[in-house]
Symmetry: C2
Subunit: 254 residues, 2 copies
């Protein structure tokens, strides 16, 4: 049932069938259904359990005291809501459901016990955390260095890559629950400018976005425009061969 989670498990970790069994068994029990707009995590929470998002999207965000909101990252299916799986601190940010969302829950104790018994599972969660950190770093580069057009394009490239990983972007198309104000909060732009940037991406024949459906018309073109970092897709960090490929891919752009 947690199809996408299984897919990510296979890509990220090298789990034995029994390991996967054990993990999924813990997840299966009481699924949590939350409507759009629910808080998945509130700032200040101390999570006693670890939750995996099975369907829907979450927005991980922070506020400035005057109301400015910045989205830190998007929580997609197979992602873990709690970033502090290993150190149980209080949450320093919130997560809200951008769409109706289903979560699976594991108690911290059960997970800890499982990780102690099965190093491969432990490694999976560590690996996943590392991936999340990589995404945060990419977000900094994205917002700090890219123009509005590149920034938006890059966001779509990242989303596509991540969804493709879990098999949720068939036909270069996927459901896209964010409103333009969310895109603005994610990219550090104004909603008006997001609107105009989207129009430009459409005009360039790179994407289609309407009715909560995003379709990428030209992946290569979009990635070139975005100066997309393909290392994100391979989730292993830049391997020796991929470091070379990195050079190659990017030299085309420049």
């Amino acid at each position: 049932m947690p199809h996408q989670f299984l897919r990510k498990l296979e890509r990220l970790g090298s789990l034995s069938p029994t390991d996967k069994e054990a993990l999924v068994a813990l997840l299966r029990r009481p699924l949590i259904n939350l409507p759009k707009g629910s808080d998945l995590i509130r700032i200040g929470d101390i999570a006693s359990s670890i939750r995996v998002l099975l369907s829907g999207w979450g927005l991980r965000y922070k506020f400035l005291p005057d109301g400015r909101r910045q989205i830190l990252s998007l929580v997609l299916p197979a992602d873990i809501c709690e970033m502090n799986v290993f150190s149980s601190l209080q949450m320093d940010h919130s997560i809200i459901a951008a769409a109706p969302t289903v979560l699976a829950e594991i108690s911290r104790e059960d997970l800890q016990a499982l990780m102690a018994r099965k190093p491969a599972i432990r490694n999976y969660f560590l690996r996943d955390l590392q991936l999340t950190i990589g995404l945060l770093q990419e977000a900094i580069v994205n917002i700090g260095q890219r123009t509005a057009l590149e920034r938006m394009a890059n966001l779509f490239c990242e989303l596509h890559a991540r969804l493709d990983l879990i098999g949720s972007a068939p036909d270069m198309q996927f459901e896209f629950p964010l409103v333009q104000a969310d895109l603005a909060a994610a990219t550090g732009l104004s909603t008006v400018h997001v609107n105009r940037t989207l129009q430009e991406l459409r005009h360039l024949q790179l994407i289609t976005l309407s009715g909560k459906q995003l379709r990428i018309l030209d992946v290569a073109g979009l990635r070139a425009l975005a100066l997309f970092n393909p290392d994100l897709v391979r989730l292993t960090g830049p391997s020796q061969t991929s470091a070379d490929r990195f050079q190659l891919d990017w030299s085309i752009v420049g």
Copy 2:
């Protein structure tokens, strides 16, 4: 000798004297001296050891293929260079020494063995990783939402808080090895605009910066201007009481 590292150990973890002994013993051996401009980490590296920065500053950065550079975070004394202490992946970014730098090294195996024996030490590294993640998230908010003036102010606030933690900002003053081009790469601004923003901060009587010395003249004023998030300072995440304080502190600003 690694005075600042000891200080951070005390603040972040609750290590027993013997734990601290054991950790520092591993660190003491062969210190690494690197001149300004050295690569502490190159993208693609697979680190076989974990290194703690004892003195100097490191710049953690990424390039876009057309040469744009974004600094992800600053590596200060007592910080760990390798963010993948627990999952030994390849580095997806580089670190360069912004000043003459001294590193202490622990082999991965030794550290792993030590962490297996001493849970408190393991927890320290997990805690430190979590802190680093928090800083990355704050950087996203900073670049995404704050104006140039606020952004620069916030950067100085963060630096001061982090240096103060390790006792390296006596008298609200500390050595500041970055050039304006570095500040630009850290904040996503142009060097020219960094220059003008610095002038404004000086004119507002908030800071003094010359001869590689940064002095904060008015911490409260600087933090108010920056909309500084004080949770960074308390490294525990927002506690129930600090969540309240969070409200209080920030309402003054708004």
